[in-house]
């Protein structure tokens, strides 16, 4: 225990050095340059600079946090500033090196633009070095102060800063979406400058974020507390009213937002449906399935084959007839995959399902099936769904199919979670042998989980095919499975609203940031690692899971071993 409780000067340097290595890495992979055109606050702060200073901030934050546990307040502040300075040394060293020696032959991203950014407007190398040091010291200090602010306030500031960043990133999207609306011009002139938020906008969103967060965290102001005090009938009325209000907003959203944002929402929605399905398999039943994309592919290809009017035309069914077929076939595939893996657990299950996903992908690409499903050329001319005269022709219309899908699938998942079958899944997740000894039939319970998850993915795939109008094998890569798994982990494994939040963060956000595409996997990896360290239960954890990770046992456990009393 003693070892953990030490925090010395060398620890400070260690933290700073870690920050330095990460910062240099971020610079060398080109993130700073790639994000530098994206202004968050006009003429002041770019996303590139945020990427540059984020390691400094984080490591200083951790340094101060850990120092505070044992050392004095002033020591903790000094620790954070010093850690920031050490990080600065690394960045400055890189700048000096890059200015003296041509390292671009190895590190392609060390471009003149990068050097310009790192000079911070100073001409001389000495001046720039000093600037880097000052900035890192200041950011380190900020990180330290942030760590030492009371939790409620630091959360509020974080919320404000996130909102500012989000609104900054959304500038382009906002002007595409609302550019032709009358009300947008004055609003836009206030919150945005030419590039990035104006100071007024920055202050506004910061304030909104802080107030919003404080309002939520304050027990007396939080709406939940007030509602909990009301009589039951009234509570129910409020619940129904807020559900209806939410539904109306959701129904109206695509009309309000227009085509491009609806497109993003539809994509997010398709992932939400998949997430809800995988959440049953992984989150409830604890069966790690890495080949989940296979069912998505089966759903999409079923609709593709049955409805296409192109070269591969067969049945030329309508979407609504093909949809149940897609769900049915995906469900069957779920059962068929389920049978051979019934006896497998954990890692073995993950590997076998991974293989299944690859088999489907390779089959889809194969020459053997090319006459039927088009091979690498995919299936073209998949007609849009329609009801009577109403055609779901663009993302604004497909959105409604996705929405109904989410509501349906979410309802099913919610009902199953608290029912007999949901409890059986959870029991199986906790301890398979005991679950069986408690009367749970493992075979049927597992197959039901696989089948339900697969059915959801099939539905999702069917909508995906109808949305795109053409499908290609490369849409069904392993990466889809990983995305879905990541989004349920980030959202909170086993949690239904978590799936929605996870999909918005992992699928929605990257759509807003096109520069981002190259670094998507890096971002996922970093986010997953950070989540595991800081918030392993996810953003919106399942109730009991949060307690498992953050609550102390009622009493210290008595060691179960006691001397056996064997004397007669």
């Amino acid at each position: 225990m003693d070892k953990e409780l030490k925090f010395t000067w060398s620890d400070i340097i260690k933290y700073g050095a870690i920050g330095g290595v990460v910062a240099v890495y971020v610079i060398l992979i080109g993130m700073v340059v790639a994000f530098n055109e994206r202004y968050i606050i006009a003429e002041t702060l770019t996303l590139g600079q945020i990427a540059l200073f984020a390691p400094t901030f984080l490591l200083a934050y951790f340094a101060a946090n850990n120092a505070r546990k044992i050392k004095s307040l002033s020591f903790s502040i000094i620790a954070s500033a010093l850690a920031g300075l050490v990080t600065g040394v690394f960045v400055a060293a890189l700048l000096v090196l890059a200015s003296k020696v041509n390292i671009r032959e190895v590190f392609l991203n060390v471009s003149p633009e990068l050097l310009e950014i790192l000079h911070f407007g100073k001409d001389s190398l000495t001046g720039a070095t000093i600037m880097i040091m000052i900035f890192n010291l200041a950011v380190g200090l900020l990180g330290g102060l942030f760590a030492l602010t009371p939790r409620r306030w630091s959360n509020a500031i974080l919320m404000g800063a996130s909102l500012v960043a989000l609104m900054g990133i959304m500038q382009e999207l906002m002007s595409i979406t609302f550019g032709n609306k009358d009300w947008f011009k004055p609003v836009s002139e206030f919150i945005y400058a030419k590039k990035g938020l104006s100071w007024g906008g920055t202050a506004l969103f910061m304030l909104l974020g802080i107030l919003g967060s404080l309002w939520r965290s304050s027990a007396s102001l939080h709406p939940g507390t007030k509602i909990a005090k009301m009589p039951r009938r009234q509570q129910q009325t409020i619940r129904i009213a807020s559900f209806l209000l939410g539904l109306i907003i959701l129904l109206w959203l695509p009309r309000f937002l227009g085509s491009y944002p609806s497109e993003i929402l539809t994509t997010v929605g398709i992932y939400i449906i998949m997430g809800l399905g995988l959440n049953i398999v992984v989150g409830f039943a604890g069966l790690l399935d890495l080949g989940y994309v296979a069912f998505f592919a089966i759903g999409a290809y079923t609709v593709g084959i049955l409805t296409t009017t192109g070269k591969l035309a067969t049945m030329e069914w309508g979407f609504w007839m093909a949809l149940p077929a897609a769900v049915f076939l995906a469900t069957m595939a779920g059962v068929i995959l389920g049978i051979p893996v019934l006896k497998m657990r954990g890692d073995y299950l993950a590997i076998v399902t991974l293989g299944f996903g690859e088999i489907i992908r390779i089959l889809v690409l194969s020459d053997w099936l090319k006459p039927y499903i088009g091979g690498a050329q995919g299936i073209l001319q998949i007609p849009k769904p329609s009801i009577g005269d109403y055609a779901f022709k663009g993302p604004q219309q497909i959105y409604y199919i996705v929405l109904i899908g989410i509501l349906l699938v979410g309802y099913i998942a919610w009902r199953l979670r608290d029912a007999r079958i949901g409890r059986a899944w959870k029991a199986m997740r906790e301890d398979e042998d005991v679950a069986e000894a408690m009367g749970i039939h493992l075979v049927s319970t597992k197959l039901l989980a696989f089948a339900t998850g697969a059915a959801f993915a099939g539905l999702s795939g069917a909508i995906f095919a109808a949305k795109l109008g053409s499908i290609f094998p490369h849409s069904f890569n392993l990466i889809v499975s990983i995305n879905v798994l990541s989004l349920i982990i980030v959202g909170g494994i086993g949690s239904l609203p978590g799936v929605v939040v996870g999909a918005l963060i992992l699928v929605g956000l990257p759509e807003l940031l096109r520069e981002f595409a190259d670094y998507r996997m890096l971002f996922y990896g970093a986010l997953l690692v950070a989540m595991m360290l800081v918030k392993p239960e996810g953003f919106i954890p399942e109730k009991t899971h949060a307690r498992e990770l953050h609550q102390k046992p009622l009493e210290p456990e008595v060691a179960p071993e006691a001397p056996a009393k064997e004397a007669i």
Partner: protein, 270 residues
């Protein structure tokens, strides 16, 4: 709970042998457990007691022999079927569903007596709702019975040791068993907790009318509550009978305390 009796014994094992490769863990073991009795299986560590339990509950397949529950053979049935037939158990090293609440643990225990399926749950049919409410009520009653009232929403893992033991028994009782297998229910308990557990087990029979098959190390417990005892050593039965008989049996003393103690005992008796 009125019980139909189809046989002379609720549980009868007939020459049960369980072999793991060359190791014979249980050898030619026959016991007869009368209805509504408390029957203890004792023996030194490694005597094959838990293996024997695992054979009865279907977790292991017996190598030879037969096991009759209520006169009906249960050999070769899956564990979940055997629970349905009326045998449920607890574990030596508590195996609760750690991250489910106490209430959920007990409700899972009632699983084999429920019928709701996938569709019933999704459509939330009146039958499903009724069954769910009944199960919840039963689980609450059982939690109260084992003294865990007020802990319904607590995660199993957060409960103190003694309460985890009792929760495990409540979970086992939720399947409405005819025969309850308790594997060292007082392991790791202090004397006052042990006494409480002893009374509790005695009560199980009195209030619920079920038969208890017990593995236990604590001789005071065994001698106080058992009607019959079987002593195992190296997988073989070395003695059986009423507590008084077993207590005086030199082979039992030898198995537990070694040959020296046995001769001493004999000398004393003489």
């Amino acid at each position: 709970m009125a019980k139909k009796r189809n046989a002379d014994y609720i549980l009868e094992t007939i020459h049960v042998t369980k072999q793991f490769g060359g190791l014979v863990a249980v050898k030619d073991l026959s016991i007869q457990v009368p209805y509504q009795s408390i029957y203890s299986v004792i023996g030194p560590n490694g005597a094959g007691k838990t293996t024997f339990f695992n054979c009865i509950t279907g977790f292991y397949k017996v190598t030879e022999g037969d096991i009759l529950l209520d006169g009906e053979s249960i050999v070769g049935l899956r564990p979940d079927i055997i629970v349905k037939k009326g045998i449920s158990r607890t574990y030596q090293n508590i195996r609760l569903f750690q991250n489910l609440t106490a209430l959920e643990n007990v409700m899972v225990g009632h699983h084999p007596r429920m019928h709701a399926g996938w569709l019933g749950a999704v459509l939330n049919t009146p039958a499903t709702r009724h069954e769910e409410a009944e199960t919840r009520k039963l689980a609450m009653e059982l939690l109260e019975f084992v003294g865990l009232k007020g802990y319904e929403q607590e995660l199993a893992t957060n409960l103190p040791y003694g309460q985890q033991r009792r929760l495990e028994i409540a979970r086992a009782l939720a399947s409405e068993p005819k025969l309850l297998l308790l594997d060292e229910p007082t392991a790791g308990m202090n004397p006052s907790e042990t006494e409480e557990m002893t009374n509790f087990i005695d009560n199980l029979r009195k209030e619920l009318g079920i038969t208890v098959l017990l593995i236990e190390h604590d001789m005071r417990v065994v001698m106080t509550i058992s009607d019959y005892i079987t002593v195992l050593d190296y997988g073989e039965k070395i003695a059986e009978g009423k507590p008084e008989d077993v207590r005086a049996n030199p082979r039992v003393i030898e198995a537990y305390l070694g040959r020296g103690a046995a001769t001493q005992h004999k000398a004393k008796a003489a």
